[in-house]
């Protein structure tokens, strides 16, 4: 329970259905920890894990009439999500902390705690569907009714045991219906705005966050400055650090040329940032590692799927093939713009999530 509308409605719905419930909030990050440091904002209201949100979750649990506890997972969140997030940017990649959090906290530690305190399943307010397919003898993760809220992209890492103990009660509802349910149950948070950005990075300013976090840790900000080069290998300038760039970026390159330039590639090894024309961003191939398969146990032969390469991406048709024990290669039917290392590639067969991996 985050104190937001979605998880609150889940609690109210399941309670109305007569389930025996325990409300849990994961305390993941102390929002006051870096407040005001290195130019970080002072105010932390209305952010996940803020005291206001815990207060809201507690009020909803009281209103719904269920026991409620806050579970401290700050240490694990920092180790499994925050540090990798910083490291990924420093190695020229563009990370997705939400997927790491789902894999390592929400559907791992939370499931452990749930079992320990006697709960059979964990229900969350994610927009996704989970059900058991007798024919395949597998738990399937499927896209939700409300495609605009689809969160399956962040859930591709869920294993069969994790899915078997997970409920997504909002999978068949639209956000509008969920808000309406919140009002019908007269939940105190019914009109609370949705949260959007990465929960521990105020205002989405990840550079400032990295500054503040590394300073707090007593770690020098690594020097990742280097050359700006063209796709042809010509050096056209310098940059102050590879963490300032993401593939497909156009603004803030610090060079003026006649035609618009885009970041095509970032090299963590020699700190080179390759820039080029928009068409250079187009690519038909990607390699994914750290694979998790859901609807199938193994990818034995090439398979036709649709692939999402970032959260706001319409799945594009492709063929995937296992090329090494933990490596899948995908060839798209049509070139895709800005395939970005650090993001994940999630494979869909219609509504069903086949699996996914992290883009190299």
């Amino acid at each position: 329970m985050s104190g937001g509308v979605d998880s609150s409605v889940v609690a109210a719905m399941l309670r109305a259905q007569g389930h025996s419930l325990i409300g849990l909030t994961l305390q993941l990050w102390n929002q006051r920890r870096l407040a005001g440091k290195e130019g970080m904002p002072e105010a932390v209201q209305g952010r996940c894990c803020s005291l206001d949100d815990v207060y809201d979750a507690r009020r909803v649990a009281r209103q719904v009439g269920i026991p409620y506890y806050v579970v401290n997972q700050e240490a694990r969140f920092e180790q499994e999500v925050v540090r990798p997030f910083v490291q990924e940017y420093l190695s020229g990649r563009t990370p997705i902390p939400c997927s790491l959090c789902n894999n390592h906290l929400k559907f791992d530690e939370l499931l452990v705690v749930a079992r320990q305190i006697g709960a059979e399943k964990v229900a969350t307010g994610h927009y996704a569907r989970v059900d058991y397919d007798e024919a395949r003898s597998r738990w399937l993760l499927r896209r939700p009714a409300d495609r605009s809220k689809d969160q399956t992209y962040f859930l591709f890492g869920l294993t069969q045991p994790q899915l078997s103990r997970t409920l997504f009660p909002l999978g068949g509802l639209t956000k509008t219906e969920v808000r309406e349910l919140a009002r019908q149950h007269a939940l105190v948070i019914a009109e609370k705005p949705d949260s959007q950005e990465i929960c521990f990075v105020p205002g989405g300013d990840y550079k400032r966050f990295m500054d503040a976090y590394l300073a707090e840790q007593g770690e020098a900000f690594p020097d990742t400055s280097g050359e700006l080069v063209t796709t042809g290998g010509d050096v056209i300038g310098e940059h102050t650090g590879i963490h300032n760039f993401t593939v497909g970026q156009r603004k803030g390159l610090g060079v003026a040329t006649g035609s618009p330039l885009y970041v095509i590639q970032i090299s963590g090894a020699d700190h080179k940032v390759v820039v080029g024309a928009e068409e250079d961003l187009q690519s038909r191939k990607l390699t994914a590692r750290r694979i998790n398969l859901i609807s199938i146990a193994q990818l034995n032969e090439p398979m036709r799927v649709a692939i999402k390469i970032r959260h706001r991406h319409e799945p594009a048709l492709a063929t995937i093939e296992q090329v090494a024990p933990d490596e899948i290669r995908a060839i798209f039917d049509a070139p895709q713009r800005a395939i970005t290392p650090g993001q994940s590639a999630v494979f869909y067969d219609g509504d069903v999530v086949v699996g996914g991996g992290w883009i190299e």
């Binding site: 325990i22 815990v54 507690r58 506890y69 806050v70 401290n72 452990v112 079992r115 320990q116 294993t159």
Partner: protein, 388 residues
């Protein structure tokens, strides 16, 4: 089923006699104790009666008791009220945050603070305090008994060191008052804090003993209440409650209530040690308050343990609650050298006057069953199961 409350070091229920004593002071004898009329005089009389009961419990003079809003205010007053920038304060790493954070606050205002670590037994060595003395040391603040482990500290010895060095000595006796006989003349302290709700009086009232002749600057400014040591209209019902609780505690200690409490605690503790493998008492080697038992259970996550017991109707605690309500590992156990994992696997059971042998037996059975269940799926075990 009736809930069993074994978290009395966090707060205790108000005893029926205490509640009855307080009752008239809300709506009937509601006067301001500073007023000259008879309504005020009634309140004043009640406050002074309570002061006498507290003074008798602690073995001090009536004028040496300053009522406060609780233990935290008493601790803050003792520290901020006796030292100035440039002064040196010695405290211990196992203090309650009311002392530790008050010391860190004065450190930020220009005082020097030394935190003396504790040994693995939970005891602070008085010689460490002696060695930390400097020419500008003005105050030693060392607790009487620790709230997490119950370990009784060598306060008489520390008091002697302070007296010899001419340094003021404050002790936080919040976990001791009412639980163990306290004799201020024996421990040589200049300042001593107590809290109402740790001894079956209500929350929101406490007291600071201030030895006659000790210079104390007020923190709250206003009227001349409490001999100008603590401004603010007296919390008359709360003070009356504290007075009644002190009176009951003194009578109880005369009867040997502390010994009965110890027997009950030992029955719980021994029952757990006998019935559960791989567990041990933190601070076992030392003399402890008779109501506290802090037990470390190998391969158990304290947070899940506390929630599991709570869902079965038993209230205990593990570590400290941070502002969100999540649990943080106890700084006391960490200061005793436990690893964060060991600290998180430690549970504090603390008894109160309301607990019975039946409470202990039911708790024992539930603890044994819960530990077995949790160990069956300890994090390592279930991580393997989930990821296989």
């Amino acid at each position: 089923m009736r809930r069993i409350y074994l978290d009395n070091n966090a707060s205790t229920p108000v005893l029926p006699e205490v509640l009855a004593a307080m009752q008239p002071y809300f709506a009937d004898s509601f006067g301001n104790a500073s007023s000259i009329h008879q309504n005020g005089q009634e309140a004043r009389f009640a406050v002074e009666n309570a002061r006498e009961s507290v003074a008798i419990l602690l073995g001090c003079g009536v004028s040496e008791i300053v009522f406060t809003s609780g233990g935290t205010e008493a601790d803050n007053l003792a520290i901020a009220g006796t030292i100035s920038p440039g002064d040196h304060v010695i405290t211990t790493a196992i203090e309650h945050h009311a002392v530790l954070h008050a010391c860190r606050h004065v450190a930020s205002l220009g005082c020097e603070v030394t935190e003396i670590p504790a040994g693995g037994d939970g005891l602070v060595d008085p010689d460490d305090i002696r060695r930390a003395l400097r020419s500008n040391t003005r105050l030693i603040s060392a607790m009487f008994a620790n709230n997490e482990t119950g370990v009784l500290q060598a306060v008489a010895e520390i008091g002697k060191i302070a007296r010899e060095a001419g340094v003021a000595f404050h002790t936080d006796a919040v976990q001791v008052a009412g639980n163990v006989p306290v004799d201020i003349s024996y421990i040589n302290c200049d300042l001593l804090s107590i809290s109402g709700h740790k001894m079956h009086a209500p929350q929101g009232v406490g007291a600071l003993y201030v030895r006659k002749g000790t210079r104390l600057r007020a923190m709250m400014h206003g009227g001349a209440h409490e001999r100008s040591r603590r401004a603010g209209t007296e919390n008359v019902p709360g003070i009356v409650g504290l007075g009644k609780a002190a009176e009951l505690a003194r009578m109880g200690l005369t009867r040997g209530d502390d010994l009965a409490m110890r027997a009950l605690r030992d029955r719980l503790e021994q029952g757990i040690l006998d019935g559960v493998e791989d567990c041990r008492v933190n601070g076992a080697a030392e003399t402890r308050t008779p109501n506290t038992s802090n037990i470390q259970f190998d391969a158990i996550e304290g947070e899940s343990f506390v929630i599991s017991l709570d869902l079965k109707g038993i209230a205990v605690s593990s570590g400290a609650a941070c502002s969100s309500g999540a649990t943080e590992p106890s700084h006391v156990l960490l200061a005793m050298g436990l690893t964060p994992a060991q600290a998180r696997s430690s549970i504090r059971f603390s008894l109160g006057k309301q607990n019975t042998g039946d409470d202990v037996d039911r708790t024992l059975a539930t603890v044994i069953e819960t530990v077995a269940r949790l160990r069956q799926m300890s994090p390592n075990y279930s991580t393997v199961a989930v990821r296989s």
